[in-house]
Structure formats: structure tokens, C-alpha cells
Symmetry: C2
């Protein structure tokens, strides 16, 4: 394995700011991925950077409230025990926002992944109503002494370039510009299944590649490949709800017939009055296609499906066994989403924090400029 720090001194040019930004991220990620709080010496060993360099970087990260030091644990060996480093719960926080068909939600998550505040309201799904909820969440974060680094909004629809919501059929939205929803704060807009998949990736300990299926009025999927969300060429991947199940099936609002949504969407599940065989069979048929195409061995069922996994499991697995060519060698695991209905809004907050973890130098510049 080739490491960047192995580049010999004779090479030029040397641009210190680029190196510092990279190394700050390297140190922060090393601490974030450690099971126990590592010492500065352990971070030096893990990164290959010198102790002196590590100390400067760690001091900057502590000053920016990204890292904090915890007292040394008692130990039996010789020598002075070293303080451990961990992510700070008092620094940047992420604001997750969600608009869905029957609720809107906000949550504030700190850098350690703890949910500090969570607000859910039924009723008014307008953008001003979401802005109001965001404002309440920001006030609470501020009273905790947290600095919100940014916001991300989860929507049940297709999001185009510049965060324009091209279509959110179950909200009746088309070409909606979200605009300055949270004044003064960077905002991204993303599909709810994508953000829910990121939420599950952070909280649910799934394998590096999985498909998250979000059951709502519509059905979406977030595809995670090798630990990264796969967004597609234009950001519109995962439209699983319109996989055709039966060409002679009921008409779908997309214009085609017999789409998965007609058999396993929230309305079909409600009509089924507890008999979920048809929904499970349809989901299994669609998931067999996903597995045959992507060769993924784990499916996470979220949204309305999460609590229904016991009733859906057998019918889904029967179709997967029947239709997935490689099922004999490698079974496909089905699991319920860890975060339930909170997955998308938690994933939205997490997406903001991931931005801070990936580029702590930008965060440090921002708070110094304030």
C-alpha cells in the first residue's frame, strides 16, 4: 500500500495549506474510527505522521472543538499514561430536516453521533412550516452551546442540480426551489431514501454494500456501494418503486401498469389488512432484480417496512431464492432498519457532519472568520 507521506523531499512544489487540510482530515478520521480514544502517539503510529506534526494538528482540532481530550485510564504498565482523544460533543452539529407526506421533522446531531434534539410535527408540509421547525431546532442547539455547521433536507422525490425538487409526486410538488430555508446556513437537499441509507450506514452497522428500501406512500431505495452512497449519473438512482411486477397489473400514477408501488406501497399495505403475502412477493421479485443486477447481499427494510419484517420475510426470501442466480452460494440477508422512521432525518444531519469530518480545515477557517 502506498502512502502519501512517502513522497521524498526532492519533489516539489510543496503547498503547505493543502497538506495541512489533508492531514487534519486524516487525524480526525483516525480518531473517529478508533474503538477506544487513541493517544497522540497512537494517532502518529496509525497515520505515519511525526509526533510533532500530530501535536500541532491535534491542538488545532481541539481549539476548533472537533476533538477533545479524555483523562488517561489507569494502567498497569510502566510510563506515564497518555490522554486519549475523541470527537467533541460540544463543537459542530448537523441539522437534519425532512418533509414527508404525513409529517415534517428536524433533528440536531452532534459530532459524536448523539441526537441532541428531535422535533416531529404532523400536518402542514409547506416549506415555511419546515423553516419554522428548523428555527426551533436551531434555538435548542444554540442553548446547548452547539454551533450548527449546516443543514440537509430530505424529500420524497427527485432532486436536481442546485437542490431543485424536480418532482415529489406524493407531495404534489414539481420544480420547487427550496431557497434560503435556514438563513445563514449552508443547505443541501437530497432524496429521503438516499439520506436514510446514509443514516443506516452511520448507525446500523451494515456491511459496506447494501440496499436500503424506504417504504412510504412511494417506495425508494438508497444504494450504498463500498461504504459510499451511489447516487447515479444525475443523482436519481434507486427508483425501485416502479420496477414492473406484472405488465397486466393495476395502473400506476407513473403512467405504466403493475409497478411495485401498486403492490407494496403504503396504500396497498393498508388495503391488505394484515395479509402481506402479495406485498412480500412483489418486494421479493423486485429485490431479486436488484440483487441480480448489483450483486449485493444485504437488504435493509426501512420506513413502514421496518416493523413489518417478520410478516414480510418469508415471502421476500422465497422470491429471492427462486430468482437470484447466486442464492445457492451466497444467501441474501434481510434486516429491519435500525433507525425506523428517523432514518432520513438522522441521515440528513449525518451528511452535514460527514462534510465536517471530510474537510475539518474548511470548518476551522469558517469559525476563525466569524
Amino acid at each position: 500500500m502506498w502512502h502519501c507521506q512517502e513522497v521524498p523531499a526532492s519533489l516539489s512544489p510543496v503547498r503547505q495549506s493543502g497538506v495541512r487540510a489533508h492531514n487534519l482530515a486524516l487525524v480526525l478520521r483516525t480518531v473517529a474510527n478508533s474503538a477506544d480514544p487513541p493517544s497522540r502517539a497512537a494517532v502518529a503510529a496509525a497515520t505515519g505522521l511525526t509526533r510533532a506534526t500530530i501535536s500541532t494538528l491535534v491542538d488545532d482540532l481541539i481549539a476548533g472543538a472537533l476533538l477533545t481530550e479524555v483523562g488517561p485510564a489507569p494502567r498497569s504498565g510502566a510510563g506515564r499514561p497518555a490522554a486519549g482523544l475523541r470527537l467533541s460533543p460540544d463543537g459542530p452539529a448537523g441539522l437534519g430536516l425532512e418533509i414527508n407526506v404525513d409529517y415534517r421533522a428536524a433533528c440536531v446531531v452532534d459530532l459524536t453521533g448523539s441526537v441532541r434534539h428531535r422535533l416531529v410535527e404532523k400536518g402542514d408540509q409547506s416549506l415555511p412550516a419546515v423553516a419554522g421547525l428548523a428555527h426551533q431546532a436551531l434555538l435548542r442547539a444554540s442553548s446547548d452551546g452547539l454551533t450548527v455547521a449546516g443543514a440537509a433536507l430530505a424529500v420524497p422525490g427527485l432532486v436536481g442540480a442546485g437542490g431543485i425538487i424536480r418532482v415529489a409526486p406524493n407531495l404534489g410538488w414539481q420544480d420547487v426551489t427550496v431557497g434560503d430555508l435556514v438563513p445563514g446556513l449552508p443547505l443541501t437537499v437530497d432524496n429521503e431514501a438516499n439520506l436514510a441509507a446514509l443514516g443506516e450506514l452511520a448507525a446500523g452497522d451494515p456491511p459496506a454494500s447494501f440496499v436500503y428500501v424506504s417504504g412510504e406512500i412511494g417506495i425508494g431505495a438508497g444504494i450504498v456501494l463500498g461504504g459510499e452512497l451511489y447516487r447515479g449519473v444525475r443523482g436519481w438512482s434507486g427508483e425501485i418503486g416502479h420496477i414492473p411486477i406484472d405488465p397486466g397489473g393495476p395502473p400506476c400514477r407513473c403512467g405504466a401498469r403493475g409497478c411495485l408501488e401498486q403492490y407494496a406501497g403504503q396504500e396497498a399495505i393498508a388495503r391488505a389488512a394484515g395479509d402481506l403475502t402479495v406485498a412480500g412477493t412483489a418486494l421479493g421479485t423486485a429485490l431479486a432484480t436488484v440483487v441480480n443486477l448489483l450483486d449485493i447481499d444485504t437488504v435493509v427494510l426501512g420506513g413502514i417496512y421496518a416493523p413489518l419484517v417478520p410478516q414480510l420475510h418469508d415471502a421476500i426470501q422465497a422470491e429471492i431464492s427462486r430468482r437470484v442466480l447466486t442464492a445457492d452460494w451466497s444467501p441474501v440477508r434481510l434486516r429491519a432498519a435500525t433507525l425506523g422512521a428517523d432514518a432520513a432525518v438522522r441521515g440528513a444531519a449525518g451528511a452535514v457532519l460527514r462534510g465536517v469530518l471530510d474537510d475539518p480545515a474548511a470548518w476551522l477557517s469558517r469559525i476563525q472568520a466569524v
Copy 2:
């Protein structure tokens, strides 16, 4: 953008061999990706490495027959015109091999991408017959003064760890170990649609993300995302042939009913006697699912489909327009594969050469050790 050469001198440890390997690959890739043969100075500018470092690396690459110098073009500006660098046609070559249902093939491709030899034989599809064809191809490469760096074998089936062919249904193979097919030469085994997609990527100038559909007795797909083949968790991605088209359709050899292969496989196409509407509609239905899931905007039709694109086009596009949610904003392009039936065997040879381009240091060590 952060460049690795920006790391300051104070960082340690410095491991020269790792740096050299990386920089050899960087220089080789820079030359390979240049439209015109670049001078050493141009390579230095593009990579950020010093002129002295570039000269050492280029000399090593020329000595290993990976690069060659071409005479300077006349130019009107001041100063001595510089010689240009390009990939050498006289160095390492890749041996591509293919076993398919009604033929076996071999080809020798040099580092510039030129096909130096191409052998196709009908009939005996046994491994010894392929070994015989490989031997003929090696003799021809040797008489050209080429050194074959390795071989890759394309098979119409699922390939497991260690190159074991788990199942190739249309060859009637199950759990076949290929073994030492070409004595003394590194050999990899891969699915034919995967290798054909790589062949198209190298020769056909497609966008960075596309799906290659290989129509044979069975139907497979090679998925290329961001310029890289997406293989899946276990290497079994792209099994498009068993996407269900109609749950009440004809039984498929996979055990399910109404799979794509029953409507658009080679036998169905032959039975259709020129009326390809059903096949096109079924392909369009399956491809709509692929596009809805992966958000890919280009489909390359290969194998038996390549010459049939004019007849298949309208029926496929009609289903895509009807079923792909984003088709209104972003049309899906259909194109015929550039390489036709040669795609897989060409892609196999290219996969060998890609290995050399990615790690020229390993190649240089190998030829020095001989």
C-alpha cells in the same frame, strides 16, 4: 485539489520504492491519456514532478519497452523542438481468450491498443481446445517480438473466487477449475459481459458510466460506473437476463417464469423471424429497471443485439420513455457496441494491459528477473 507531491519534507518515513512505483504509473498514465505525444517537459508540468525525476522515470519506461520516443514535429516557435513520448507497440501485450457457446477466440493486443493477432474457431469448446488456440496466439506474438504479459479468459457464466467457473449454463459447466491453461503466464477468468464492457470502455468512447448488454444464448450485462467496472460484492453483478418480464410467461431454465432471456435471448430472437417488437419491448422493460435503479443514461447493445439496434431501437425507447421516471429531463441513449462479437476477447486482452499500465513497476521487475 490536493496532490500527493505536496507533502512537505519534514514528514517521514520516506519509502523510495513505493514512490517510484506510483510515479512510474503516473507518468505512464499521463502519456497514455495524452492526445498527442507529450514531451518530457509536458509530462513534468502535468504531473508536478521535477524534470530530473521525470527523466529518470521515462528512461526506465523506455528501457522496459513501455514507452517509446517519436521524433519532434517541425514547429515554428523558438527553441529546440522536443521529442514526444507515446506508448510502445513493441513491449508487453495482452492475450485475450474467450469460450462461448458456438465459438472460441483469442487475440493479442499491444499496449497501444492495436489488435496484432485474432483467431476465432468454431466447434470444440473444451478447455484443451482453448489452450491450443492460446498457444497459436502466443507463437504469433513471439514471432512479432512481443512479450505477452498475461492472459484473461472470458466465459459466459458466473466466476467465483480463484477463477472457478461456478456455473456456465449454456456451456453445461458447473464448478469448473480452469487451471494452468497457458503455462507460465498469469491468467484471470471473468464473465464475458464484464470483459466486453471493458472492451467497449477502451475502444468505443462511451461516457464514464454505462451499461453494456451482451446478447447471446443468455443475456448478461457489464456495468461501468465512473470509468470502472462495477463487479458487485462477489463479482456477480449484471445478471440482467433473469429480470422478470411477465410472471405468467414461459418457464426459464433458471426455474422462474417469464425472464427476459425467454423474450430476447438468441433463441427467442431466432424464433421471432424478424419481428423484434416483443424482444425490444422486453429489453426496454428490463432496461427501464436498470436505468431507474442505477440512473445511467447510456446503454450499449452488444453481442447479437449490435447489428439489430435499428430494429430494436423504437420498441426499447418506447418502454424506457414510459417507465423511466426521469426520461422527461434526461433521455437515455442507446448505441450499438463498437467491437461487435469481438468485445469480450478484446476486453480480456485489455484487462491484462490495464494491469501493466496500473503497475508498470511490477512489469519492469518481472522482465529484469527473467
